[in-house]
Symmetry: C2
């Protein structure tokens, strides 16, 4: 069953800063290219009822594709090298059709 994997997050960088844009551009270039990832998108979170500012969303065909993404060296490297030092708050959600 198709899984929509998402994470909503806030960066340490100032909104509108070059550092923010570079983080998002690098995420797009790195994560969208990992095998099994489709429909990768970066969205702005605009509800005042959350203080998180961005969302990554992607679709994975099944749990095997999900596990492959999680274990992929490009994903692990991005998490260790960029996500951990630059993201100050986040929440993951995964969605499947009812």
């Amino acid at each position: 069953m198709t899984i929509q994997h998402t994470v909503v997050f806030r960066l340490a960088h100032a909104p509108g800063s070059p550092e923010e844009a570079e983080f998002l551009d690098t995420a797009q270039a790195t994560l969208a290219g990992i095998p099994g990832v489709s429909a990768f998108s970066i969205n702005r979170q605009v509800s005042a009822k959350s203080d998180l500012a961005w969302q990554f969303s992607m679709v994975l065909a099944d749990q095997a594709a999900y596990d492959g993404y999680n274990a992929h060296p490009e994903h692990v490297g991005f998490v260790e090298g960029r996500w951990v030092p630059e993201v100050v708050a986040f929440q993951e959600y995964d969605f499947v059709a009812r």
Copy 2:
């Protein structure tokens, strides 16, 4: 700009119960028909990293459509009559394209 309005939530009802199914069916029937709402969907939240279990997602064409949905009597009535008494935890997020 198109807005994806979402809420992730957990019900007071037991997972798999008739009360859960009836709540979700009523939400679908009530909310999906409100003018301006498109792509209404109910999704199961399956990440163990959140204790919320369901998501409502819909697309609204712009802020005016969003405001119209929020103020619509069918929405207000659902919130007061069903959401408040039956939902024990929730988080809203609204997304727009980067």
